[in-house]
């Protein structure tokens, strides 16, 4: 009798959490319909492809960050990692290294910078927010040292790479999708991913039951760093130049994407695939739609602020629910 009556209780709870989960997609759909109806340019293949193009870098970076967040930590240095690793790549490009190798070096540098964060968090046991606030500033400083404050236009041969497309779809959109799917599989279907979620539930409990907590967190920061480097490559290609603004604010966009995507900042809960796609599309669609509406360019900020607030509110509700029992 116990199980019968309690399963009824929980089904009410499920219904409520279902509403919590599908509330955002429904709002997104309504927005989509609104923009499509209100502006002529929004619902066109070219515009939707441009939308998917524009969100690619942040989607890639947010995927990596999602790993760190799932483990109950935070990495706000991803924007600076993007900048510094691309700057390193830029120097090597100047030395005449072939482009694919430079790309690889950028991703690896991102991983190394992620490992620096990981070392401070895991070995020196400093809070991850404090750590990455520090490295956010430090990495950006190093990058400015390396590439100067002037912007550097990319060589034509390299710049063209940013416009590669298969049919109407830009290559970076496809790569972003592959990255999100790969991270999703890593999180959901590998032993590492499940241990990551376990650590996010409680690092203390995870270590009590014998999970390699330090290693799990370390790897998450390295993945986050690598993907920050990769996202930095596409962000640079989209601009066509390496500027001192590269990656600035990206960390906050990435956090916003994660929060709006329903990945809990408390750790351990969320779905990478639907979360990152939902979050990234939401922000880009609003930005793009407002442009088409000829809205005041500053309108985007308060609106996205409101969105983030609503998402956090929903998250605190959900987390309260699962923390209680």
């Amino acid at each position: 009798m116990t199980s019968a009556s309690s399963s009824e209780i929980w089904s009410v709870k499920r219904l409520r959490s279902l509403i919590g989960q599908i509330g955002f997609p429904i709002m997104l759909l309504l927005l989509f319909i609104f923009f499509s109806a209100a502006t002529p340019g929004f619902l066109s293949i070219a515009n939707l492809a441009a939308l998917a193009h524009a969100l690619a870098p942040v989607a890639i970076i947010a995927s990596g960050l999602a790993m760190v967040v799932m483990a109950g930590n935070l990495d706000i240095s991803v924007g600076s990692i993007a900048f510094l690793s691309v700057s390193i790549g830029w120097s090597l490009l100047g030395l005449g290294l072939p482009v694919p190798l430079v790309a690889l070096v950028i991703v690896v540098s991102g991983g190394v910078l992620g490992a620096v964060n990981a070392f401070i968090v895991v070995v020196l046991r400093i809070n991850s927010l404090i750590t990455t606030l520090g490295t956010m500033i430090a990495f950006r400083g190093l990058a400015l040292e390396l590439s100067g404050t002037n912007s550097h236009t990319l060589p034509d041969g390299v710049r063209e790479l940013g416009n590669q497309a298969i049919g109407p779809i830009f290559v970076d959109s496809i790569i972003a999708l592959l990255v999100v799917v790969a991270i999703h599989v890593l999180h959901q279907r590998t032993a590492y991913g499940r241990q990551l979620a376990a650590v996010g539930n409680s690092a203390l409990i995870a270590s009590k039951i014998g999970l390699p907590v330090g290693r799990v967190i370390f790897v998450a920061f390295v993945i986050s760093g690598c993907l920050a480097g990769l996202g930095g490559i596409f962000a640079t290609l989209q601009v066509g130049a390496l500027t001192a603004f590269l990656g600035r604010g990206l960390e906050f966009n990435a956090v916003a994407v994660i929060v709006v995507g329903g990945i809990s900042l408390f750790g351990g809960a969320g779905n990478v695939l639907s979360g990152i796609l939902l979050g990234a599309v939401t922000f880009e669609m609003i930005r793009n739609g407002l442009n088409h509406l000829d809205a005041n360019p500053y309108a985007y900020r308060p609106i996205s602020g409101l969105l983030i607030f609503m998402a956090m509110y929903a998250d605190s509700f959900r987390s309260r629910g699962h923390r209680r029992k």
Partner: protein, 503 residues
Amino acid sequence: MMAAPGLVLSNISKRFAGVSALKGVELTAAPGEAMALLGANGAGKSTLMNILGGVIQRDEGVALLDGHPLDLASPRAARAQGIAFVHQELTMLPTLTVAENIMIDHLPTVGGLIDFKALKRRTQDLLTRLGCRFDADTRVGDLGPGDQQMIEVARALSRESRVVIFDEPTSSLTEPEKQRLFGVIQGLKSEGVIVIYITHFLDEVFATCDRVTVMRDGMLVSTGPVSAHTVASLAHEMLGEGSLAGDIPTAVPPADEVILSVAKLTRARVLSDVSFEVRSGEIVGLWGLLGSGRTELLRALVGLDPIDSGSIRLKSSGHLVTVTPSQLSRSTAFVTEDRRGEGIFPGQSVEQNLSLPTLRQLLNRFGLVDRSRERSLADDLIGRLGIKTSGRGQDIATLSGGNQQKIVFGRWLGSQPTVFLLDEPTRGLDVGAKTEILRLAVEIANGGGGVLLVASEPEELMRVCHRYLLMDRGRIVGELGRGATRDDLVARVSNRAVDEVLQ
């Protein structure tokens, strides 16, 4: 030289911040043997087992298995050498599924990906063996404490082990679940596994264990066969000379004056039409099985869960006035069944945890908390409840489980509310402390307060209650007077459980 097979812990010592928790403890157990480990709250049982489980490191001592030294540097190392641990405080990962929780440190994989079929099959086998009826894909956060405790056991059994430690495994289990657990322990013994069993339910020792080791204040008191003991002799060894708390005074008959009146309290699918009254000086026992709605009723009363309809009236300056649950919660003492989740504030000191409900009365004329009064309140409560702590400044999270429970109850004694809602207030307490809490409940009643008491053990209710409310599936299905026997109580709810099975 051939060493004796089995586990040997020798001369184990451990100090925390200068305070000795273990002083040269010895413990041995042979393969196929179940060793009971007993001691009062704070005696050091969990600390000793945490050392064996690699959770904390010993300062001194030797640990051998079959004559070979054990590497107990981490839980992982201990586990790899066949030591499984059912923790006193549940170690659940609420956002993961049951299967993932059980197998988290050895998930089966093919080609780098988790083999979910094998995972499910293997967990389902374990759950069947334990007689659990929930699905392996359920999210653990959606299950109650009893089910979670079974998952904790399942995790320990999921790997081949040489030693299985059970640290108070039955504190949230129902009777049938307990019986199944005992069956599993018999199975482990016949496979030659060493079982170490910690409990405060002394009768369980006689049902499951072969030998018994008693600890007191971090030291070994005695070790020997269970057959040489009685419940009384064990209690005596645990608590030492003269500290067996005296008898519980009889509660005087309650006055006629109703101080809490609840009418038609309803919460969809959880509580329906719950009505009852509590009189001044009365201790009302709320009896029902796990999941009957008893915890849910208390939670709804104090506003932790929303209610759909119904009214609550509370005596206030001579009249019964209608109050909301959150108003009620401000003038009642509420002891939660979920100590770790809701009862304590980890990271805060014993003193801060004790003074919480009383802070308003401790303000000085500047509106700040008067530290010296706070301190003396804390010292007073520590003394009255016999809370074992190195000082009022100790982090509550580092107290033994039973001593944390004493604080969850004891903090209300300072503010002296008239209504006490107690959900399993004696969970995890040793026999002496249990008696002490029940004695305090009687004192509260004799002082004119009203107590609503939930307990899983009918014997416990029967020691103090004036009458019993019987709960089943969110309803109050009956009421029994003081003279009711254990069988009366059990029969009323178990008949229904049987009906359910037959349907």
